[in-house]
Point group: none
Chain length 400, copies 2
């Protein structure tokens, strides 16, 4: 039984979720984390009168990718809903996905004929430049627009990477994406050619035509395909929580993740533009997902000074968010990206929930250690939506 | 696998659960909650040497009714065991329930014939007085004592409300309570008459006879029935936990909830009388559920001064409870009822567990914020029984 769905009430409250990607950290200097070193007078003030806690994105010790990280804070148990690699790659490159699509991650590769066999010589085509990639992808895209009635959509990525969508004219049966990667994972081996009908046949034909188009390229003379995947079947955010939701993000990946759960997505070029959009859209939606990327990027680079700077810049914008008077404001991350680990991590993520219906005054600042003292405790990320709905008085009583 | 049941040990310890209904609160003045404002020297002393924590009654963000609230602290997952509306209404009005009963919530209503059809004109019969209700219920009860071999039991409630039990001579198959409400929910519509055999036939006959008996009433000339429900199948407290248990409560609802899990119930008219009963019964049981209602009532009224007064009055009685030397004493609520919300809420509820086998000295007082610092953390209400059993050394080791 879905306890939450059964008890949804609609009202006019506004819920704002601000995600500082990869927010949580570990000590970087003098035993202090990025959040602890940052000067954040506005967050400090807010923290004193908010409910604080930490969320666990997926499970104890589990480091999430961006997909599960966001599904969790959107209220979906990320273990139940999994997003295929191809889908994620396509979203990251800004491709829109339809229910009849198969999405794939592609690599340009170098192959050689050897005793009549095709052998992978370089799985990354010498890591060609992103510029070179653009040229080659354009060439391939204009030569192979479709395979029969299947539309082929290509988008260049960084270096040797690209995303491909095979858009079928009609819905595919579930499991149509269960195709092995064509990438043999090791050089000196043959690519793995999928066998059988349906999607496999389309893929075989695509490979044949790509080989023909790319045959004169010095490096990128072949493609390897991985992570065949269909758009996951996910109950929409509005169905599940009764909220008209939108996402405001600079990076395509996060708009894409929001669109997977049915949020309407809006693109901005900068944090300032995002805030302007937020204000413009304020009357049109109930729930706003506001994504800030750079905390994660600097964390990934191990650049803790950069991460601190993004946090401080965000702190300066807090009055702008508060001026909208959201009934529930949550500030958190989708996962931790400690600068010392130069990558995502499993550590719980600080959460701040601002609402009139909290205890507050448990903590002095919005930091990992201060959030541990908070009234929300350490809780699974996918329960965050329960809390946001409750604090906006959008859940009726369970049982008499 | 039921870990607890498999490891039950019997001994002579006494376990006392004191429930201050709707105990948890939110800041009401100067940022302080009702518990924080109350002068509670005895609770303060006890808190310093007890294990403290917070329980979540049902789930994050879920506001429980009295039924789920109590099932949780009795050690039953309230999501697994749901109590029908009719059952709860009957318990609240002090009716005893048998396994062969169908319980229903009733409203007196005003109907009119219109083109040969019965139309609901007022779903609440103009909110007749409770006095008027008593008279009408008596009249109906003496006219309709049974339908065939099914006994009809009626009990008047407040204003237009009443509870009815249809007591069948033999057990009913599960799902016999799956009848639609006869209340059309809107005025100007016909009542919904249940179709089919069995319980539906009895209900149809009751409706016909009630209409006949009430036909000359100016307002309450019909009845609408809602929330048909059977007594839930719940493993008894003694089977589940190996404890002979009793409940001491002033209000019928809470005795009723305790009786649903098989506790013996004792009625008192006041807190003083409850304490006398507790002392008298002390040798006869292992587990005592002691219910104090007024914290919730004042919370529901938004009367935080009243709530504080009840807490302070209770504090004065702590020495009486301690004089009995229970091996495990728990003081908590079934849910929070913050005065500022004038109703039940989803907020975690303070828990104090007194036993020789605790750390203690984590906190200065028994308040929401001080309980957050405690050794029990934030935990699901239905795990409270595990903790009470463990601290009474009534659970053997799991595994070798």
């Amino acid at each position: 039984m879905d306890l939450v769905k059964k008890h949804i009430i609609k009202n006019n409250t506004k819920l704002l979720l601000i995600v500082l990607d990869g927010l949580g950290g570990l000590p970087v200097e003098n035993g202090k984390t990025e959040l602890e070193m940052a000067k954040t007078p506005n967050l400090d003030r807010l923290a004193k009168e908010s409910a604080l806690g930490m969320h666990i994105p997926v499970d104890y010790g589990i480091t999430p990718g961006s997909g599960p990280g966001h599904l969790g804070i959107f209220g979906y148990n990320p273990v139940e809903y999994q997003i295929g690699r191809g889908i994620l790659e396509a979203l990251g490159l800004g491709l829109e996905l339809k229910d009849t699509d198969i999405a794939v991650r592609g690599n340009y590769a170098t192959v050689e004929e050897f005793n009549g066999k095709l052998i992978v010589k370089d799985r990354r085509a010498g890591r060609i430049s992103s510029e070179e990639n653009k040229r080659i992808t354009q060439k391939l895209a204009s030569a192979v627009k479709n395979i029969g009635d299947v539309q082929v959509i290509l988008s260049p990525g960084m270096e040797h990477r690209f995303a491909m969508i095979l858009r079928f004219p009609t819905p595919l049966p579930e499991g149509s994406d269960r195709l092995p990667d064509t990438d043999p994972q090791k050089e000196g081996y043959e690519p793995i050619i999928p066998q059988g009908d349906g999607v496999a046949m389309v893929v075989r034909e695509f490979l044949k035509r790509a080989q023909e188009v790319l045959k004169d390229e010095p490096k990128a003379n072949y493609v390897l395909l991985r992570g065949f995947s269909q758009k996951p079947k996910i109950e929409s955010f509005e169905e599940k929580f009764g909220l008209r939701a939108c996402a405001i993000a600079v990076y395509p990946m996060y708009r894409g993740l929001a669109s997977l759960v049915g949020m309407e997505v809006f693109k901005a070029e900068s944090l300032q533009e995002q805030i302007k959009l937020l204000k413009d859209l304020w009357e049109n939606y109930d729930y706003f997902f506001f994504h800030i990327k750079k905390t994660d990027s600097y964390g990934e680079d191990g650049n803790w000074r950069g991460k601190i700077q993004v946090i401080e810049e965000f702190d300066g914008l807090i009055p702008e968010f508060l001026s909208l008077k959201p009934q529930v404001l949550v500030i958190t991350g989708d996962h931790s990206t400690p600068s010392v680990l130069k990558g995502h991590s499993w550590h719980p993520v600080p959460v701040l929930l601002h609402s009139p219906y909290v205890l507050g005054r448990t903590s002095e600042r919005f930091t990992e250690r201060e959030c541990l003292k908070g009234e929300l405790g350490i809780f699974p990320a996918f329960k965050l939506m329960n809390l946001m709905l409750a604090h906006s008085l959008r859940l009726s009583k369970f049982g008499a």
